[in-house]
Each structure stands twice: as C-alpha cells, then as structure tokens.
Symmetry: C2
Subunit: 360 residues, 2 copies
Amino acid sequence: MERVYNFSAGPATLPLEVLEQAASEMTNYGESGMSVMEMSHRSKDFEDILEKAKSDLKELLNIPDNYVILFLQGGASAQFSAIPLNFMNKNNKADYIITGQWAKKAFEEAQKYGDVKAAASSEDKTYSYIPKTTNEDFRDDIDYVYITGNNTIYGTKYNELPDTGDIPLIADYSSSFLSEPLDISKFGMVYAGAQKNVGPAGVVIAIIREDLLGNENKLTPIMMNYKVQADNNSLYNTPPTYGIYMAGLVFDWLKRNGGLEKMKEKNIEKANILYDYLDNSKLFKPTVNKEDRSLMNVPFVIGDDELEKKFIKEAQENGFVNLKGHRTVGGMRASIYNAMPLEGVQKLVQFMKKFEEENV
Amino acid sequence: MERVYNFSAGPATLPLEVLEQAASEMTNYGESGMSVMEMSHRSKDFEDILEKAKSDLKELLNIPDNYVILFLQGGASAQFSAIPLNFMNKNNKADYIITGQWAKKAFEEAQKYGDVKAAASSEDKTYSYIPKTTNEDFRDDIDYVYITGNNTIYGTKYNELPDTGDIPLIADYSSSFLSEPLDISKFGMVYAGAQKNVGPAGVVIAIIREDLLGNENKLTPIMMNYKVQADNNSLYNTPPTYGIYMAGLVFDWLKRNGGLEKMKEKNIEKANILYDYLDNSKLFKPTVNKEDRSLMNVPFVIGDDELEKKFIKEAQENGFVNLKGHRTVGGMRASIYNAMPLEGVQKLVQFMKKFEEENV
C-alpha cells in the first residue's frame, strides 16, 4: 500500500523525509558504527544530538535564556501530577481553566495535592469554545493558573491568553506545539507531548522558567522533580534517546522549511481550506466558534450516524485515514499537523465535496 | 564506518536483523500506509503489535496467568518511586538489599514514602559480591523485599534468590532481563528498563502479581498507579508506541533464536570465554567473586590508569567500543547482552591477548 493521508490526532503523521532519514541511519548513525538506539546516552554522539535538539528548539521558539528545556517521559498525564507537585508550593492553591477532557484530567489530578479551583469552564457547550476570563476570575493567592493551549478533542485554541497578572501561567500545548510562534516569556511553563507535531510518543518537551524550580513537594517522585531534571540536563537517568533524536530531526526539518512563521502561514492556509468548505457545506458542519478554532484539529459532523460511518469508511478506502472523531465525542475530526501537506487537505476537501454531492 | 562491536551497558547493541526490519518498515508498516511511529495507539494495527508483544513475552518467560504485563515509562528510576507508592501499603515498611548504586537509589527514594531498612549490603567491598541472607534478616511485618537481580555497574547477579517466605519479592532485572529463564512465580514484581536486552530507552516492562494491585498510596501520581495501568492495558494514555514495537521485534527475534534456554546457553558460552581469559591473564583482572558473576556485564581492571586508558583507546580504534567502566568505578566493563554475537566476544579476547602480549 502507498502511504496514506493520516489525519490521526496523535501519534500523528510525520514528515516523510524525516522518516526516510531515520530509516537510512537506523543501523549506522554517522561515523558511530551503531544505531542511535544503541548509543550510550552519555556518549559524545548522543550529547551532540541532545544539544543540537535543544539549541534548534530554542531558536525556533525564540526561548529566553531564563528558561530551561527538558525532555521528559510519561506524556502529558505524568505532568498533570508533576505540575502541582513542583509548583503548588507557596499557598498550595491553583486555578484551572477547563476547556476539555485533558484540562479536566489535569484539574482532577491536581486535587490530590492541594486546593484547586476551576476558574472557568466551557463544559456547558461540550467545550466548543474558549471561555473568556479576566484577572478577577482568579484567586489572589494561587501558585499558578493552568490552561490547555489547544484542545485536541474539541478543536479549540487560545488566541488570546488569560490575563493572570504576576501569577505564573502553565500551559499544555501538546497538540499545537511548533505549529506557530509562541511567546514563551508569557508563561511559567509550556509543555507538549511529542506525538503530534514533534516525533514519537514517549517524549514530553517542557520549557520552564528557571526561578520556579526547586520548591517541590517533598513527596515528589525523583523523576517528576523538574529541578533534578534541569540540574542533570534531562540525563538524570537514561532518557528516551531515540525519541529525542527523532524530535531533533523534526526541529531541523522545521528550520529548513522556514521556521514557525512560515509554518503558521502554511497551517492557516490548510485550515482555511477546510473551514471555508465546512462553513459552506450543506452536509458537513464545523462544531467550533469561528474565533476559537484550532489550526491543528478540525472536528466536524454530519449529524447522521449512518452517513458519518459511511463517510469515514469511504474516506479510508480512498486513503484518508483516522478521520473518526475522538471516542468520547463522535463525529469526525481531521488533525492537520505541520507534517500534513497542503495537498492532503486539498484532496480531502475534494473528496468531501464529492461525498456531499453523492449524499445530499 | 562499519558497524562496531558495541559493549555499552545501555542503551546497548541490538540485533542487526531487528534494526534492518525496523528500517525497512519505517515509512510504511505492513498494509497500514504509515510508520508505526505515526499510528494511533488505539488503532487495530498498534493493538495487534501490543498484543503480540505481550503474548510473545508471556511465552518466552512462561509468565503465569495471575500476572499482568505492563509497558511503562520513566526508566527504573520512576519505578523506584512507584514501587513504594503502590506496594508499601499495609505496614508502610519494606526491606532492601543493597547490591549496588541502583539498589541504593531505589532504597533512598523509598525512604520518602515509608519505613525502609537495608537488610543487607555489599557496599563494604564495592558491591563486588551478592550478600547472603536468610529469612531472619528481614523484618516480619514488611510489605516487600527489594533486590536488583543483576548489577550493571559491578557485574554481579543473584544465582540464588533470597528466601523471603510469604513476603513479596520485588526485583529490578533491567540488565539481565531475557538473558536466561526466570521463574516469575517467585516474585511479586519483576521489572526491567528496555535499553539493555529489549529495545530502545523509554520503555519499562513490568510483570506484576495481580493480587498486589489496587492498594496504592492516595498521593500516587496517576501514571505511576500500576492498577490504573493494568486496568487500561498500558493504554491509560499514549504509551511509547515505537519502543513497544521495537521490543516486540526483539521478542520475536528471541523466539526465532530458540527462546531463553538457548539464549542462556549462548550467554554462558560468551561469558565463559571472557571470564576464562580474565582468570588467567597476567594483565587483566576480573573484579567479581566467581559465584556471583553476571553473564551480561563483565567488569575488569588492569590496575594502572594509563594502561587502562591506552587499552580503551586502542580497543575503540579496533572497533570494540564502550569498554570504559561506569564513571563511578572506573576500569573497564564489557556488556555482552543477548545481541552481542559470540564472534564479538571472541574477537575482543583476541584483541585483549594481543594487547597483553604487547604491554606486559
């Protein structure tokens, strides 16, 4: 079978040339005589891979010098625990904005460790919008405010960050990381699971303002202690070396392709093609407020279970795969990450138009 | 450069044919039209990969039905916290046998969560032996006894397990996992980081007796809750899918190559070649008691810093790499995992003999 157009929400499509490079280096990387997978994490070759990945990421996101870059494990779900353990450390309080299932899970997990409040929520309308907040919505004495920057399941994103004053803002950007520029200086911590825009599952990238480190709860498991990870340059123990290597190849690909400004331009172009069609279709309907729409995850519905099943099946037969919506919300969803070519979106819309003609 | 003989302690050498298969499937796995790295962890293709890995592992180790097999993250160091959080749950007490740096780290981490005692230690002789224990050495009311089955840094292994009576025995077998048969029924839990005998770093395999699950500390981070992982078949969130795939390829390779009995035979043959030479060399000396020697990690010394440096350098130039001992103990160490061919050990010994002739 030919390679398909893979609209999976994650793990997700990766740039073909990155995969081809990985394949070509699989049994012998550079002059090393071995696979990156077989390399000691304390070898010079791996050290170079790690440092290049860090410096490329720093360049891509223009990360200020007072932030550390960590490569962690356990997915976003591990950070749901690590964040309160590391940062809920003055008054043991934090406010969360609940914009979807992942924010809610983070919120529920944080309740184990302190006084946590939902400052706002869009659960009333199935998380189809980003709730507006003002500084008044947050308690004065909290240690941080937590948001999910892009909501994979519901297809919403923050276009304007909540005003939290001096209170550190912590954000999960798993599903839109590196899809456009992001002003890191506005955050206490930004993190992302790699398996959307960056590389294989099993790597989390965390970018943390240094002054926030070092006041963790005494019961913090050592691997969740961000200060320990920072002091050891993500090498407290063996990190997921191959995943870091793949992430590095993707960072390099992003640089070769014009960086995040260019990526944003391409992503807007791709998303507009899909949203414009959805806004005018008689069959397919978008589900998200125009102003809150994600560039990465585009959910849509027909509103007829049988017809949706038929669409997903026929799409798959035509090489457009993983268009089924998240198991908790149904419908359809096209995840169009950085690595999804323009052509993939154009062809999908052509296919949808044809399906519409045949089924309206 | 040609592929080298890689004696790294981990990440470590992998079977060449496994790497070649991974390379050939990198851009398109089977009929999927995508890389395993790009596959949803809830897709049928990945489900098949996971189930085959589990059933092959179950077959290889003859794992009884009342044990669960988990694929986790965070390395052994994450389990150092997760083990007391999950299992120190009746009297909040556990005894540890300190046979090296990793056992000591596990012991120190467990002190955060309960009353932990070192029941025995071989620290007095730089961990060069396995301390003998009897049932009397353990406190009556402890929740578990913890050991490291094979000590990567010092090159020792348990040949006879401590008698713990009814108290569950928990063991880190990271560096000898799948190098020979292991009677899982003797343990409450056996676990191993993948990056020695199994696959890439970033995957931990845990095999846990089911009746021990479900009594975790209330503060256990959700990703460290073994019951949650078991209830979700290691899919509570996105697991390290590519690492699991690689582990599966290695399990399949082990099955094709005669399973663990055959592996043990080969590993004994390889280790004997090296130990026999070391026991008779006038230059190189082994560091471990004969009865406690690891089949996987073979440390040795010359006892002359300059000559050791010269040996490591010349070995590297001749394609025998990563022979430097762990940074905390110095000397040399040859890690000869399953994937190290007999020929690699034979050629290393030839090279050592030549070096001995030239330098004695």
